[in-house]
Protein backbone atom coordinates (compact mmCIF):
# COMPACT_ATOMS: atom_id res chain seq x y z
CA UNK A 1 0.00 0.00 0.00
CA UNK A 2 1.79 3.11 -1.26
CA UNK A 3 1.17 6.65 -0.06
CA UNK A 4 1.56 9.91 -1.97
CA UNK A 5 2.98 12.70 0.19
CA UNK A 6 4.20 16.22 -0.29
CA UNK A 7 7.49 15.48 1.41
CA UNK A 8 10.01 17.97 2.74
CA UNK A 9 13.57 17.57 1.51
CA UNK A 10 15.32 17.92 4.85
CA UNK A 11 18.82 16.97 3.70
CA UNK A 12 20.67 16.99 0.39
CA UNK A 13 24.34 16.00 0.65
CA UNK A 14 26.77 15.15 -2.11
CA UNK A 15 28.53 11.79 -1.57
CA UNK A 16 31.03 11.03 -4.29
CA UNK A 17 29.23 11.14 -7.63
CA UNK A 18 25.83 10.86 -5.96
CA UNK A 19 23.52 12.89 -3.76
CA UNK A 20 22.09 11.54 -0.53
CA UNK A 21 18.55 12.93 -0.12
CA UNK A 22 16.39 12.66 2.99
CA UNK A 23 12.64 13.25 2.67
CA UNK A 24 10.27 13.75 5.62
CA UNK A 25 6.54 13.21 5.36
CA UNK A 26 3.57 11.61 7.10
CA UNK A 27 3.50 7.85 6.70
CA UNK A 28 6.26 7.98 4.11
CA UNK A 29 8.20 5.21 5.86
CA UNK A 30 5.23 2.98 6.66
CA UNK A 31 5.69 -0.60 5.56
CA UNK A 32 8.97 0.02 3.74
CA UNK A 33 11.14 -3.09 3.28
CA UNK A 34 14.55 -3.45 1.60
CA UNK A 35 14.09 -3.46 -2.19
CA UNK A 36 11.10 -1.13 -2.21
CA UNK A 37 11.46 1.99 -4.33
CA UNK A 38 10.01 5.50 -4.37
CA UNK A 39 8.68 7.49 -7.34
CA UNK A 40 9.50 11.19 -7.19
CA UNK A 41 7.88 14.01 -9.18
CA UNK A 42 10.49 16.29 -10.77
CA UNK A 43 10.37 19.86 -12.05
CA UNK A 44 8.42 22.96 -11.08
CA UNK A 45 4.67 23.27 -11.61
CA UNK A 46 3.90 22.82 -15.32
CA UNK A 47 7.31 21.26 -15.82
CA UNK A 48 7.94 19.82 -19.31
CA UNK A 49 8.93 16.62 -17.48
CA UNK A 50 5.62 14.83 -17.09
CA UNK A 51 6.88 11.56 -15.61
CA UNK A 52 8.16 10.47 -12.21
CA UNK A 53 11.64 9.21 -11.43
CA UNK A 54 12.18 5.96 -9.52
CA UNK A 55 14.78 5.43 -6.80
CA UNK A 56 15.57 2.53 -4.48
CA UNK A 57 14.84 3.35 -0.88
CA UNK A 58 18.16 3.50 0.92
CA UNK A 59 16.70 3.80 4.39
CA UNK A 60 13.33 4.33 6.06
CA UNK A 61 12.77 5.68 9.56
CA UNK A 62 9.36 5.80 11.23
CA UNK A 63 8.48 8.90 13.24
CA UNK A 64 11.59 10.70 14.35
CA UNK A 65 11.45 14.25 15.71
CA UNK A 66 11.39 15.31 12.06
CA UNK A 67 8.56 12.93 11.21
CA UNK A 68 8.94 9.75 9.24
CA UNK A 69 11.72 9.83 6.67
CA UNK A 70 12.99 7.91 3.68
CA UNK A 71 16.43 8.34 2.14
CA UNK A 72 17.38 8.08 -1.53
CA UNK A 73 20.72 8.00 -3.32
CA UNK A 74 20.47 9.90 -6.58
CA UNK A 75 22.94 9.83 -9.45
CA UNK A 76 22.57 12.96 -11.60
CA UNK A 77 21.93 11.66 -15.09
CA UNK A 78 19.35 13.41 -17.29
CA UNK A 79 17.24 16.52 -16.67
CA UNK A 80 15.02 15.03 -13.97
CA UNK A 81 17.77 13.71 -11.71
CA UNK A 82 19.79 16.87 -12.37
CA UNK A 83 16.83 18.91 -11.17
CA UNK A 84 16.39 16.72 -8.12
CA UNK A 85 19.97 16.95 -6.86
CA UNK A 86 19.83 20.73 -7.31
CA UNK A 87 16.87 21.16 -4.96
CA UNK A 88 17.46 23.15 -1.79
CA UNK A 89 16.94 21.60 1.62
CA UNK A 90 13.50 22.64 2.84
CA UNK A 91 11.81 22.41 -0.54
CA UNK A 92 8.64 20.35 -0.94
CA UNK A 93 8.64 17.41 -3.34
CA UNK A 94 5.89 14.94 -4.22
CA UNK A 95 6.95 11.40 -3.35
CA UNK A 96 5.10 8.11 -3.76
CA UNK A 97 6.33 5.21 -1.63
CA UNK A 98 6.78 2.37 -0.95
CA UNK A 99 6.47 0.82 -4.41
CA UNK A 100 7.26 -2.59 -5.84
CA UNK A 101 7.91 -5.91 -4.16
CA UNK A 102 10.81 -6.02 -1.68
CA UNK A 103 13.64 -8.55 -1.55
CA UNK A 104 12.42 -11.97 -0.41
CA UNK A 105 14.28 -12.91 2.78
CA UNK A 106 15.28 -16.47 3.70
CA UNK A 107 12.88 -18.19 6.10
CA UNK A 108 15.81 -19.78 7.94
CA UNK A 109 19.30 -18.38 8.54
CA UNK A 110 21.46 -18.64 5.42
CA UNK A 111 24.78 -17.46 4.06
CA UNK A 112 23.95 -14.47 1.90
CA UNK A 113 26.07 -12.66 -0.66
CA UNK A 114 25.04 -9.10 -1.55
CA UNK A 115 26.29 -7.76 -4.89
CA UNK A 116 25.84 -4.16 -6.03
CA UNK A 117 26.95 -2.09 -9.00
CA UNK A 118 27.16 1.71 -8.77
CA UNK A 119 24.18 3.24 -6.97
CA UNK A 120 22.85 -0.30 -6.77
CA UNK A 121 24.44 -0.31 -3.32
CA UNK A 122 21.75 2.14 -2.15
CA UNK A 123 19.46 -0.57 -0.65
CA UNK A 124 22.21 -3.01 0.34
CA UNK A 125 23.14 -1.93 3.85
CA UNK A 126 19.45 -1.77 4.70
CA UNK A 127 19.08 -5.30 3.33
CA UNK A 128 22.17 -6.51 5.18
CA UNK A 129 20.77 -5.30 8.50
CA UNK A 130 17.53 -7.21 7.92
CA UNK A 131 19.41 -10.36 6.99
CA UNK A 132 21.68 -10.14 10.03
CA UNK A 133 18.64 -9.63 12.24
CA UNK A 134 17.41 -12.96 10.92
CA UNK A 135 20.63 -14.67 11.82
CA UNK A 136 21.96 -14.80 8.29
CA UNK A 137 25.61 -14.28 7.49
CA UNK A 138 26.28 -11.41 5.09
CA UNK A 139 29.11 -11.09 2.58
CA UNK A 140 29.23 -8.09 0.28
CA UNK A 141 30.73 -7.16 -3.08
CA UNK A 142 30.45 -3.59 -4.39
CA UNK A 143 31.52 -2.75 -7.92
CA UNK A 144 31.62 0.53 -9.81
CA UNK A 145 33.26 2.25 -12.75
CA UNK A 146 35.42 4.28 -10.42
CA UNK A 147 35.86 5.00 -6.72
CA UNK A 148 33.56 8.04 -6.63
CA UNK A 149 30.70 5.82 -7.82
CA UNK A 150 31.00 3.51 -4.82
CA UNK A 151 28.44 4.28 -2.13
CA UNK A 152 28.17 3.13 1.51
CA UNK A 153 31.51 1.28 1.58
CA UNK A 154 32.22 1.91 5.26
CA UNK A 155 28.81 0.75 6.46
CA UNK A 156 28.95 -2.30 4.23
CA UNK A 157 32.46 -3.17 5.45
CA UNK A 158 31.27 -2.85 9.04
CA UNK A 159 28.39 -5.27 8.55
CA UNK A 160 29.93 -7.75 6.16
CA UNK A 161 31.68 -10.91 7.11
CA UNK A 162 33.68 -10.87 3.89
CA UNK A 163 33.81 -7.64 1.87
CA UNK A 164 35.21 -6.97 -1.59
CA UNK A 165 35.35 -4.00 -3.95
CA UNK A 166 35.96 -3.93 -7.69
CA UNK A 167 36.32 -0.91 -9.98
CA UNK A 168 36.68 -0.88 -13.75
CA UNK A 169 39.59 1.56 -13.49
CA UNK A 170 41.19 0.04 -10.40
CA UNK A 171 40.83 3.30 -8.46
CA UNK A 172 39.62 1.23 -5.52
CA UNK A 173 39.71 -2.49 -4.65
CA UNK A 174 40.38 -5.06 -7.31
CA UNK A 175 40.44 -3.81 -10.89
CA UNK A 176 37.70 -5.55 -12.85
CA UNK A 177 34.04 -6.48 -12.53
CA UNK A 178 32.12 -7.92 -9.62
CA UNK A 179 31.70 -11.18 -11.52
CA UNK A 180 35.47 -11.65 -11.33
CA UNK A 181 35.43 -11.91 -7.55
CA UNK A 182 32.01 -13.46 -6.90
CA UNK A 183 33.09 -17.11 -7.39
CA UNK A 184 35.84 -16.70 -4.79
CA UNK A 185 33.41 -15.02 -2.39
CA UNK A 186 30.83 -17.74 -2.91
CA UNK A 187 33.37 -20.44 -2.11
CA UNK A 188 34.75 -18.62 0.89
CA UNK A 189 31.31 -17.75 2.23
CA UNK A 190 29.52 -20.97 1.28
CA UNK A 191 26.89 -18.72 -0.23
CA UNK A 192 23.32 -20.04 -0.18
CA UNK A 193 21.57 -16.95 -1.59
CA UNK A 194 22.68 -13.99 -3.67
CA UNK A 195 21.05 -10.54 -3.64
CA UNK A 196 21.96 -8.20 -6.47
CA UNK A 197 21.17 -4.63 -7.50
CA UNK A 198 22.79 -2.81 -10.38
CA UNK A 199 23.00 -2.58 -14.17
CA UNK A 200 21.28 -5.32 -16.17
CA UNK A 201 24.51 -6.91 -17.52
CA UNK A 202 25.80 -7.25 -13.97
CA UNK A 203 22.53 -8.77 -12.80
CA UNK A 204 22.64 -11.24 -15.64
CA UNK A 205 26.14 -12.42 -14.80
CA UNK A 206 25.21 -12.71 -11.12
CA UNK A 207 22.10 -14.70 -11.98
CA UNK A 208 24.11 -17.02 -14.19
CA UNK A 209 26.77 -17.62 -11.53
CA UNK A 210 24.04 -18.37 -9.00
CA UNK A 211 22.31 -20.74 -11.36
CA UNK A 212 25.59 -22.56 -12.02
CA UNK A 213 25.87 -23.36 -8.33
CA UNK A 214 22.16 -24.02 -7.94
CA UNK A 215 21.49 -21.25 -5.49
CA UNK A 216 18.77 -18.63 -5.67
CA UNK A 217 19.49 -15.07 -6.72
CA UNK A 218 17.28 -12.08 -6.06
CA UNK A 219 17.85 -9.38 -8.67
CA UNK A 220 16.59 -5.79 -8.55
CA UNK A 221 16.09 -4.84 -12.20
CA UNK A 222 16.01 -1.34 -13.63
CA UNK A 223 13.59 -0.87 -16.48
CA UNK A 224 12.52 2.51 -17.84
CA UNK A 225 9.35 3.49 -15.97
CA UNK A 226 6.67 6.04 -16.75
CA UNK A 227 4.31 5.62 -13.76
CA UNK A 228 5.97 3.31 -11.24
CA UNK A 229 2.59 2.20 -9.91
CA UNK A 230 1.53 -0.41 -12.43
CA UNK A 231 -0.86 1.44 -14.71
CA UNK A 232 1.17 2.19 -17.87
CA UNK A 233 2.83 -1.10 -18.93
CA UNK A 234 6.06 0.55 -20.03
CA UNK A 235 8.38 -1.26 -17.60
CA UNK A 236 7.92 -4.85 -18.70
CA UNK A 237 10.43 -7.61 -19.24
CA UNK A 238 10.08 -11.31 -20.15
CA UNK A 239 9.74 -13.40 -16.99
CA UNK A 240 9.06 -17.12 -16.68
CA UNK A 241 6.13 -17.91 -14.36
CA UNK A 242 5.75 -20.85 -11.98
CA UNK A 243 3.68 -22.44 -14.73
CA UNK A 244 6.70 -22.29 -17.00
CA UNK A 245 5.03 -19.73 -19.24
CA UNK A 246 6.92 -16.56 -20.15
CA UNK A 247 5.00 -13.32 -19.77
CA UNK A 248 5.85 -9.64 -20.27
CA UNK A 249 5.73 -8.64 -16.62
CA UNK A 250 5.65 -5.17 -15.01
CA UNK A 251 8.87 -4.58 -13.13
CA UNK A 252 7.28 -1.80 -11.04
CA UNK A 253 4.61 -3.96 -9.42
CA UNK A 254 5.71 -7.58 -9.94
CA UNK A 255 9.31 -6.44 -9.43
CA UNK A 256 11.66 -4.70 -9.30
CA UNK A 257 12.98 -7.76 -7.46
CA UNK A 258 12.85 -10.99 -9.45
CA UNK A 259 14.39 -14.38 -8.94
CA UNK A 260 17.37 -14.39 -11.31
CA UNK A 261 16.42 -17.71 -12.88
CA UNK A 262 12.98 -16.43 -13.91
CA UNK A 263 14.22 -13.60 -16.14
CA UNK A 264 14.87 -14.25 -19.84
CA UNK A 265 18.05 -12.17 -19.67
CA UNK A 266 19.11 -12.55 -23.29
CA UNK A 267 15.66 -11.50 -24.44
CA UNK A 268 15.19 -8.44 -22.24
CA UNK A 269 14.20 -5.64 -24.63
CA UNK A 270 12.48 -8.11 -26.92
CA UNK A 271 9.30 -10.15 -26.89
CA UNK A 272 10.32 -13.83 -26.99
CA UNK A 273 8.40 -15.80 -29.62
CA UNK A 274 7.15 -18.24 -27.00
CA UNK A 275 5.97 -15.42 -24.72
CA UNK A 276 2.28 -15.41 -23.85
CA UNK A 277 0.49 -13.38 -26.50
CA UNK A 278 3.58 -12.91 -28.66
CA UNK A 279 2.86 -11.67 -32.17
CA UNK A 280 1.93 -14.48 -34.51
CA UNK A 281 2.99 -14.29 -38.13
CA UNK A 282 0.77 -11.73 -39.82
CA UNK A 283 -0.40 -10.69 -36.38
CA UNK A 284 0.13 -7.37 -34.65
Amino acid sequence: MAVQVKARLISNKKVGSYHHLIFAGDGIAAGVRPGHFAAVAVGEENSPMVLRRAFSIHKATEMTSRGSTIELIVSPHGPGTQWLVNQQEGSTIDVVAPLGKPFALPKTPANCLLVAGGYGSAPMVYLAQELLARGCSVDIVFGAGTESKLFDVLEAKRLARYFEITTDDGSAGTQGRVSDVIPKMMAKGQTEAIYACGPMPMLQSVAELAAKSNIVSQCAVEESMACGIGVCMTCVLPVIGDDGITRMVRSCTDGPIFRGDTIRWDEVGTVPDDCLGAPKVGGH
Partner: protein, 311 residues
Amino acid sequence: MTIVISTSLGNLKLAAPVLTASGCAAAGKELDQFFDITKIGGIVTKSIMLEARSGRPTPRMAETPSGMLNSIGLQGPGIDSFIEKDLAWLANRGATTVVSIAGNNVEEFGRLAGKLRDHPAVAGIEINISCPNVANRGLVFACNVGSATDVVTSVRRNVGPEMPLLAKLSPDVTDIVEIARAVRDAGANGVSVINTVLGMVIDQKTLKPVLGGRTGGLSGPAIRPVAVRCVYQIHAALPDLPILGMGGIRNGKDALEFIAAGASAISVGTATFGDPSAPMRIQNELTAEIESRGFESLKEVIGIAHEKESN
Protein backbone atom coordinates in the same frame (compact mmCIF):
# COMPACT_ATOMS: atom_id res chain seq x y z
CA MET B 1 -19.09 21.67 -3.80
CA THR B 2 -22.68 22.73 -4.23
CA ILE B 3 -22.91 22.77 -8.04
CA VAL B 4 -24.26 19.92 -10.13
CA ILE B 5 -21.45 18.02 -11.88
CA SER B 6 -23.39 14.99 -13.10
CA THR B 7 -23.31 14.61 -16.85
CA SER B 8 -24.00 12.13 -19.58
CA LEU B 9 -22.56 10.79 -22.81
CA GLY B 10 -25.75 9.99 -24.68
CA ASN B 11 -27.40 7.17 -22.76
CA LEU B 12 -24.35 6.75 -20.53
CA LYS B 13 -25.17 8.61 -17.31
CA LEU B 14 -22.25 9.76 -15.20
CA ALA B 15 -22.39 11.04 -11.62
CA ALA B 16 -19.23 13.05 -12.26
CA PRO B 17 -17.40 14.36 -15.35
CA VAL B 18 -13.86 12.99 -14.96
CA LEU B 19 -12.92 9.48 -16.09
CA THR B 20 -9.57 7.79 -16.43
CA ALA B 21 -8.17 7.42 -19.95
CA SER B 22 -7.83 3.95 -21.39
CA GLY B 23 -4.37 2.53 -20.90
CA CYS B 24 -3.50 5.03 -18.20
CA ALA B 25 -5.31 3.39 -15.28
CA ALA B 26 -5.06 -0.35 -16.01
CA ALA B 27 -8.33 -1.64 -14.49
CA GLY B 28 -8.52 0.87 -11.65
CA LYS B 29 -7.16 -1.29 -8.86
CA GLU B 30 -3.73 0.38 -8.58
CA LEU B 31 -5.24 3.87 -8.48
CA ASP B 32 -7.69 2.91 -5.77
CA GLN B 33 -4.89 3.17 -3.20
CA PHE B 34 -4.45 6.88 -4.04
CA PHE B 35 -8.08 7.96 -4.27
CA ASP B 36 -11.57 6.43 -4.08
CA ILE B 37 -12.16 5.39 -7.69
CA THR B 38 -15.92 5.28 -7.11
CA LYS B 39 -15.89 9.07 -6.57
CA ILE B 40 -14.86 9.99 -10.12
CA GLY B 41 -16.98 9.71 -13.22
CA GLY B 42 -15.65 6.30 -14.07
CA ILE B 43 -12.82 4.02 -15.03
CA VAL B 44 -12.09 3.46 -18.71
CA THR B 45 -10.10 0.25 -18.76
CA LYS B 46 -7.02 -0.56 -20.83
CA SER B 47 -8.10 -1.65 -24.31
CA ILE B 48 -8.65 -5.38 -24.19
CA MET B 49 -8.35 -7.81 -27.10
CA LEU B 50 -9.79 -11.29 -27.65
CA GLU B 51 -6.57 -13.15 -26.92
CA ALA B 52 -3.77 -12.49 -24.47
CA ARG B 53 -1.29 -10.11 -26.05
CA SER B 54 2.35 -9.45 -25.23
CA GLY B 55 2.57 -5.95 -26.65
CA ARG B 56 5.68 -4.42 -28.15
CA PRO B 57 9.33 -4.75 -27.14
CA THR B 58 10.86 -2.24 -24.73
CA PRO B 59 11.76 0.58 -24.52
CA ARG B 60 8.09 1.42 -24.70
CA MET B 61 8.29 5.05 -23.73
CA ALA B 62 10.24 8.24 -24.10
CA GLU B 63 9.65 11.49 -22.33
CA THR B 64 9.27 14.43 -24.74
CA PRO B 65 8.82 18.19 -24.15
CA SER B 66 5.63 18.44 -22.05
CA GLY B 67 4.62 14.98 -23.17
CA MET B 68 5.63 11.39 -23.73
CA LEU B 69 5.68 8.78 -26.46
CA ASN B 70 4.43 5.29 -25.76
CA SER B 71 4.39 2.09 -27.76
CA ILE B 72 2.78 -0.40 -25.43
CA GLY B 73 1.10 -2.27 -28.25
CA LEU B 74 -2.09 -3.23 -26.43
CA GLN B 75 -0.55 -5.66 -23.97
CA GLY B 76 -3.24 -7.47 -22.05
CA PRO B 77 -4.55 -10.80 -20.73
CA GLY B 78 -7.36 -11.23 -23.26
CA ILE B 79 -11.07 -10.64 -22.76
CA ASP B 80 -11.92 -13.81 -20.83
CA SER B 81 -9.29 -13.32 -18.16
CA PHE B 82 -10.19 -9.61 -18.08
CA ILE B 83 -13.85 -10.37 -17.38
CA GLU B 84 -13.01 -13.01 -14.83
CA LYS B 85 -10.47 -10.99 -12.85
CA ASP B 86 -10.43 -7.26 -13.63
CA LEU B 87 -14.08 -6.68 -14.42
CA ALA B 88 -15.10 -8.80 -11.42
CA TRP B 89 -12.92 -6.62 -9.17
CA LEU B 90 -14.40 -3.42 -10.62
CA ALA B 91 -17.95 -4.76 -10.26
CA ASN B 92 -17.33 -5.70 -6.68
CA ARG B 93 -15.67 -2.34 -6.02
CA GLY B 94 -18.72 -0.59 -7.45
CA ALA B 95 -16.83 1.64 -9.89
CA THR B 96 -18.58 2.97 -12.98
CA THR B 97 -16.79 1.03 -15.69
CA VAL B 98 -16.36 1.72 -19.38
CA VAL B 99 -14.61 -1.18 -21.08
CA SER B 100 -12.30 -0.30 -23.96
CA ILE B 101 -12.06 -2.96 -26.66
CA ALA B 102 -9.64 -3.40 -29.55
CA GLY B 103 -9.83 -6.02 -32.28
CA ASN B 104 -7.50 -7.08 -35.06
CA ASN B 105 -10.43 -7.00 -37.44
CA VAL B 106 -14.09 -6.07 -37.64
CA GLU B 107 -15.24 -9.51 -36.62
CA GLU B 108 -13.09 -9.52 -33.46
CA PHE B 109 -14.61 -6.22 -32.35
CA GLY B 110 -18.02 -7.80 -32.70
CA ARG B 111 -17.08 -10.85 -30.67
CA LEU B 112 -15.48 -8.72 -27.95
CA ALA B 113 -18.64 -6.65 -27.69
CA GLY B 114 -20.76 -9.76 -27.54
CA LYS B 115 -18.88 -11.03 -24.50
CA LEU B 116 -19.61 -7.78 -22.67
CA ARG B 117 -23.21 -7.43 -23.77
CA ASP B 118 -24.98 -8.79 -20.72
CA HIS B 119 -22.37 -8.07 -18.08
CA PRO B 120 -23.99 -5.99 -15.32
CA ALA B 121 -20.74 -4.17 -14.52
CA VAL B 122 -20.34 -2.71 -18.01
CA ALA B 123 -21.70 0.84 -18.03
CA GLY B 124 -20.53 1.36 -21.57
CA ILE B 125 -18.02 0.32 -24.19
CA GLU B 126 -15.27 2.46 -25.70
CA ILE B 127 -14.33 1.16 -29.14
CA ASN B 128 -10.63 1.80 -29.66
CA ILE B 129 -10.34 2.10 -33.42
CA SER B 130 -7.41 4.48 -33.11
CA CYS B 131 -4.47 2.76 -31.42
CA PRO B 132 -1.34 3.87 -33.27
CA ASN B 133 0.78 1.11 -31.76
CA VAL B 134 0.06 -1.60 -34.24
CA ALA B 135 2.60 -2.92 -36.71
CA ASN B 136 0.15 -2.53 -39.56
CA ARG B 137 -1.06 1.07 -39.93
CA GLY B 138 -3.99 -0.43 -41.79
CA LEU B 139 -5.19 -1.54 -38.37
CA VAL B 140 -6.01 2.04 -37.49
CA PHE B 141 -9.68 1.76 -38.38
CA ALA B 142 -10.26 5.39 -37.35
CA CYS B 143 -8.21 6.57 -40.33
CA ASN B 144 -10.85 5.47 -42.78
CA VAL B 145 -14.59 6.12 -42.95
CA GLY B 146 -15.31 2.67 -44.28
CA SER B 147 -13.47 0.63 -41.69
CA ALA B 148 -14.58 2.91 -38.86
CA THR B 149 -18.17 2.40 -39.95
CA ASP B 150 -17.77 -1.36 -40.25
CA VAL B 151 -16.30 -1.72 -36.75
CA VAL B 152 -18.97 0.35 -35.03
CA THR B 153 -21.76 -1.34 -36.99
CA SER B 154 -20.48 -4.76 -35.99
CA VAL B 155 -20.17 -3.77 -32.34
CA ARG B 156 -23.65 -2.27 -32.29
CA ARG B 157 -25.09 -5.41 -33.86
CA ASN B 158 -23.54 -7.50 -31.09
CA VAL B 159 -24.64 -5.45 -28.08
CA GLY B 160 -28.15 -4.43 -28.98
CA PRO B 161 -29.55 -0.89 -28.98
CA GLU B 162 -29.20 -0.14 -25.25
CA MET B 163 -25.47 -0.39 -24.67
CA PRO B 164 -23.72 3.01 -24.60
CA LEU B 165 -20.99 3.00 -27.26
CA LEU B 166 -18.16 5.50 -27.57
CA ALA B 167 -15.89 5.38 -30.63
CA LYS B 168 -12.36 6.54 -29.89
CA LEU B 169 -10.96 8.69 -32.68
CA SER B 170 -7.46 9.42 -33.90
CA PRO B 171 -6.27 12.98 -34.57
CA ASP B 172 -4.02 11.67 -37.34
CA VAL B 173 -6.60 12.18 -40.04
CA THR B 174 -7.29 14.86 -42.63
CA ASP B 175 -10.86 15.39 -41.49
CA ILE B 176 -11.82 14.13 -38.03
CA VAL B 177 -15.39 15.45 -38.41
CA GLU B 178 -15.96 13.08 -41.31
CA ILE B 179 -14.93 10.12 -39.15
CA ALA B 180 -17.06 11.34 -36.23
CA ARG B 181 -20.09 11.59 -38.48
CA ALA B 182 -19.45 8.09 -39.82
CA VAL B 183 -19.25 6.43 -36.41
CA ARG B 184 -22.33 8.31 -35.22
CA ASP B 185 -24.26 7.11 -38.26
CA ALA B 186 -22.99 3.60 -37.60
CA GLY B 187 -24.51 3.61 -34.12
CA ALA B 188 -22.01 5.18 -31.71
CA ASN B 189 -23.67 7.21 -28.94
CA GLY B 190 -20.62 9.40 -28.63
CA VAL B 191 -16.96 9.85 -29.49
CA SER B 192 -13.80 9.78 -27.37
CA VAL B 193 -11.42 12.47 -28.62
CA ILE B 194 -8.44 12.14 -28.94
CA ASN B 195 -6.17 9.15 -28.97
CA THR B 196 -2.42 9.82 -29.16
CA VAL B 197 -0.69 11.56 -32.06
CA LEU B 198 1.78 9.39 -33.96
CA GLY B 199 5.33 10.43 -33.16
CA MET B 200 8.96 9.34 -32.95
CA VAL B 201 12.08 10.13 -30.96
CA ILE B 202 15.60 9.30 -32.19
CA ASP B 203 18.12 8.11 -29.61
CA GLN B 204 21.15 10.39 -29.26
CA LYS B 205 23.55 7.48 -28.79
CA THR B 206 22.37 4.92 -31.32
CA LEU B 207 20.80 7.45 -33.74
CA LYS B 208 17.99 4.92 -34.14
CA PRO B 209 14.39 5.28 -32.95
CA VAL B 210 14.22 5.06 -29.16
CA LEU B 211 11.08 2.96 -29.02
CA GLY B 212 11.12 -0.74 -29.65
CA GLY B 213 8.11 -0.12 -31.86
CA ARG B 214 9.95 2.76 -33.59
CA THR B 215 6.90 5.03 -33.71
CA GLY B 216 4.71 5.65 -30.70
CA GLY B 217 1.77 7.71 -29.52
CA LEU B 218 2.38 11.25 -28.29
CA SER B 219 0.36 12.27 -25.25
CA GLY B 220 0.43 14.83 -22.48
CA PRO B 221 0.10 18.65 -22.32
CA ALA B 222 2.05 19.00 -25.58
CA ILE B 223 -0.97 17.78 -27.57
CA ARG B 224 -3.68 19.59 -25.62
CA PRO B 225 -4.21 22.35 -28.23
CA VAL B 226 -4.67 19.66 -30.90
CA ALA B 227 -7.19 17.81 -28.73
CA VAL B 228 -9.17 20.95 -27.90
CA ARG B 229 -9.28 21.80 -31.60
CA CYS B 230 -10.62 18.33 -32.47
CA VAL B 231 -13.32 18.56 -29.79
CA TYR B 232 -14.25 22.05 -30.99
CA GLN B 233 -14.44 21.01 -34.66
CA ILE B 234 -16.63 17.99 -33.91
CA HIS B 235 -18.96 19.89 -31.60
CA ALA B 236 -19.29 22.70 -34.15
CA ALA B 237 -20.26 20.27 -36.91
CA LEU B 238 -22.22 17.73 -34.84
CA PRO B 239 -23.54 19.60 -31.78
CA ASP B 240 -25.73 16.69 -30.71
CA LEU B 241 -22.93 14.12 -30.65
CA PRO B 242 -21.67 13.69 -27.06
CA ILE B 243 -17.90 13.95 -26.67
CA LEU B 244 -15.57 12.43 -24.08
CA GLY B 245 -12.65 14.85 -24.34
CA MET B 246 -9.03 14.06 -23.54
CA GLY B 247 -5.47 14.95 -24.44
CA GLY B 248 -3.00 16.61 -22.10
CA ILE B 249 -5.42 17.45 -19.31
CA ARG B 250 -3.32 18.20 -16.23
CA ASN B 251 -5.55 20.42 -14.09
CA GLY B 252 -9.05 21.85 -13.74
CA LYS B 253 -8.38 24.76 -16.10
CA ASP B 254 -7.26 22.36 -18.83
CA ALA B 255 -10.40 20.29 -18.27
CA LEU B 256 -12.54 23.42 -18.47
CA GLU B 257 -11.15 24.15 -21.96
CA PHE B 258 -12.48 20.80 -23.16
CA ILE B 259 -15.92 21.28 -21.60
CA ALA B 260 -16.19 24.77 -23.11
CA ALA B 261 -15.09 23.41 -26.49
CA GLY B 262 -17.92 20.88 -26.40
CA ALA B 263 -16.95 17.85 -24.32
CA SER B 264 -19.61 16.50 -21.93
CA ALA B 265 -16.99 14.65 -19.86
CA ILE B 266 -13.22 14.27 -19.92
CA SER B 267 -10.60 11.57 -19.45
CA VAL B 268 -7.27 11.97 -17.68
CA GLY B 269 -4.38 9.90 -19.00
CA THR B 270 -0.71 10.85 -18.88
CA ALA B 271 -1.24 13.21 -15.95
CA THR B 272 -1.90 10.12 -13.82
CA PHE B 273 1.68 8.97 -14.34
CA GLY B 274 3.03 12.19 -12.86
CA ASP B 275 0.36 12.31 -10.13
CA PRO B 276 -1.52 9.09 -9.28
CA SER B 277 -4.37 11.09 -7.74
CA ALA B 278 -4.74 13.32 -10.81
CA PRO B 279 -8.24 12.17 -11.87
CA MET B 280 -9.72 12.97 -8.43
CA ARG B 281 -7.74 16.20 -8.08
CA ILE B 282 -8.72 17.39 -11.55
CA GLN B 283 -12.39 16.62 -10.93
CA ASN B 284 -12.27 18.74 -7.78
CA GLU B 285 -10.39 21.53 -9.55
CA LEU B 286 -12.81 21.50 -12.49
CA THR B 287 -15.76 21.73 -10.12
CA ALA B 288 -14.14 24.70 -8.38
CA GLU B 289 -13.38 26.43 -11.69
CA ILE B 290 -16.98 26.08 -12.82
CA GLU B 291 -18.37 27.24 -9.49
CA SER B 292 -16.01 30.22 -9.33
CA ARG B 293 -17.40 31.42 -12.65
CA GLY B 294 -20.90 31.51 -11.26
CA PHE B 295 -22.35 28.51 -13.06
CA GLU B 296 -24.69 26.18 -11.21
CA SER B 297 -23.98 23.07 -13.24
CA LEU B 298 -21.36 21.61 -15.52
CA LYS B 299 -23.97 21.22 -18.25
CA GLU B 300 -24.20 25.02 -18.64
CA VAL B 301 -20.56 25.12 -19.69
CA ILE B 302 -20.64 22.37 -22.31
CA GLY B 303 -19.88 23.93 -25.69
CA ILE B 304 -20.06 27.48 -24.36
CA ALA B 305 -17.04 28.48 -26.47
CA HIS B 306 -19.27 28.22 -29.53
CA GLU B 307 -21.94 30.68 -28.43
CA LYS B 308 -22.27 34.05 -30.18
CA GLU B 309 -18.59 34.27 -30.90
CA SER B 310 -16.76 37.40 -31.94
CA ASN B 311 -15.93 36.98 -35.66
